[in-house]
Amino acid sequence: MSEYLISARGLTKKFGDFTAVNSIDFDVSKGESFGLLGPNGAGKSTVMRMIGATSQRNAGDLTILGKDPELNGPQIRAHLGVVPQQDSLDMHLSVSENLYIYGRYFGLPRKFVKGKIEELLTFAQLEEKRDAKVEALSGGMKRRLTIARALVSEPEILMLDEPTTGLDPQARHILWDRLFRLKEQGVTLVITTHFMDEAEQLCDRLIVMDKGSIMAEGSPASLIKDYSTKEVLEVRFGSDRNQEVADKLRAMCERIEELPDRVLMYTEDGEALLEKIYASGLHPKTSLVRRSSLEDVFLRLTGRTLIE
């Protein structure tokens, strides 16, 4: 068995003429928290489904725990906990019944599953909702239940497809906290997201995907270091004037990005740059200095923003 839990070489998936995943290579090590960052339609979910042995590749190699998902689907799925993008909870059952029956689907004995339920309810902070119908839960609770459900089989790899999309900030932070705990327990996480803050918070290492290809790979910090500057100055001159001043601004720093509503200026020292702008006689309506993020990396790599 190779040293990697998941290993892909030339992994390709086509739907008719459309190439959803275009010959990508990556490896995921044990205990690692691995991210796939990219906009909607980048091919992240397709990669997740191929790893999850619910979608067959068209070309390339894919090995999960030393096995080929095309030949050993059930055995691979037994190792995985899957949290899909859209909830697939059983609406006809209560919270604890959902956990129970999901364990049974893996063929686990009744006694074993019943023993797991308490632990999982505590983990998901749903002890008081154990007898509630799934429909009555909030979005954040449903997500936590889905994660708890995925853990019932004690998986080594937890696959999370856009885990916090559609949740409010508080619910997201609760969820992140739960995922950190899993990571501490040694569970390998594979996460897709189009939120850069999520990728920065949760991932040790990630690949940036766009249109089915990998644009870059590395830790969040190294990606920012390699593809962006230390700081970013965001200035707004009003949507009609942004373009007018762009040329002047471009001359003042390493690189700029013109967005419809603002101009991003890449620099090692944002405050100094802002002073320079004022000194040149320009007066932005608003300005903001911030640290570079993965959003900037993505913009640099693709010329587009993550959320469009």
Partner: protein, 275 residues
């Protein structure tokens, strides 16, 4: 090295026949059906039993007054005795169709329950057999309940009629596997209406309420191709004790339906979830 129990269970199935499609989890799916059933709408459950009884009361005793006997072969029988087996066969069909179309459509497209199921170490054939198995359990209990009502009324003249219960389960199996196959191809809720458009005329023309001999030849021929006609002939033959090789033919019709239905359901679920 620590091996999670779920993995050990899946590994134990390596090398078994059809292991990529089937993991032997039908009992678990029936367990799910039972848990959901405990809190389900009892009206739907009850209606499956009440419907044939109401038909029997209104037609059997209403029309039965105007038409005291009806001739089948050389035998003259009471009208209620004539229609009771047909109602049993029809209720087996209706129950199976309800469970395998409406219910399946919602689980497939709305609740996405099968998506969750197939992310586990189960396969699509587990899901197909489990869902159909549940429809059969329901069909079996309806058939028993119906027999418990009609037999004491003297509407089942032959002891062979006991075999009408397994026959009803066979019929339900045929309709459920085909119903699920058809539903798995449906894109919208409206398309499900097509099934109703097909079922209602079949119910009315398949010889439930009068012998097919009243029809012109060409219509008899057409009606004889329909599954419900075979279902009614099978159950009626058993209830009346008219045992002949024809009954085997009717049963075979359903065996073929079952095989085709399961084949297409598994194929389609595989295409939907394992693409």
């Amino acid at each position: 090295m620590f091996i999670p129990m779920a993995v050990a269970i899946a590994e134990a199935r390596v090398g078994k026949r059809g292991e990529r499609y089937y993991s032997g989890r039908v009992p678990q799916l029936l367990e799910r059906g039972f848990i959901a059933f405990k809190s389900s709408t009892w009206m739907i459950v009850l209606s499956g039993f009440v419907e044939p009884v109401l038909y029997l009361l209104s037609f059997g005793y209403g029309i039965g007054k105007l038409l005291p006997t009806i001739t089948v072969g050389n035998e003259s029988i009471k009208y209620a005795v004539f229609i009771a087996p047909a109602l049993l066969a029809t209720s087996a069909m209706n129950g199976a169709i309800y469970d395998s179309t409406m219910n399946v459509f919602f689980k497939l497209n709305h609740d996405r329950i099968y998506h969750g199921m197939l992310a586990t170490s189960m396969g699509p054939l587990d899901v197909a057999l489990g869902e159909i198995g549940w429809a059969l359990l329901r069909g079996f209990s309806y058939a028993c309940a119906f027999m418990a009502v009609v037999a004491p009324l003297g509407l089942i003249p032959s002891l062979w009629g006991l075999l009408a219960i397994p026959a009803a389960v066979l019929i339900a199996f045929g309709f459920a596997s085909c119903g699920m196959a058809v539903t798995s191809y449906m894109k919208s809720f409206q398309q499900l209406e097509i099934i109703t458009v097909f079922l209602l005329p079949m119910f009315l023309f398949s010889g439930s309420f009068y012998p097919l001999t009243v029809f012109p030849e060409w219509l008899q021929f057409t009606v004889n191709l329909l599954p419900l006609t075979h279902a009614i002939n099978l159950v009626r033959g058993l209830c009346l004790g008219h045992i002949n090789m024809g009954l085997v033919g009717h049963a075979l019709y359903f065996v073929i339906m079952i095989i085709c239905g399961l084949f297409f359901t598994t194929k389609r679920l595989n295409a939907l979830f394992m693409k």
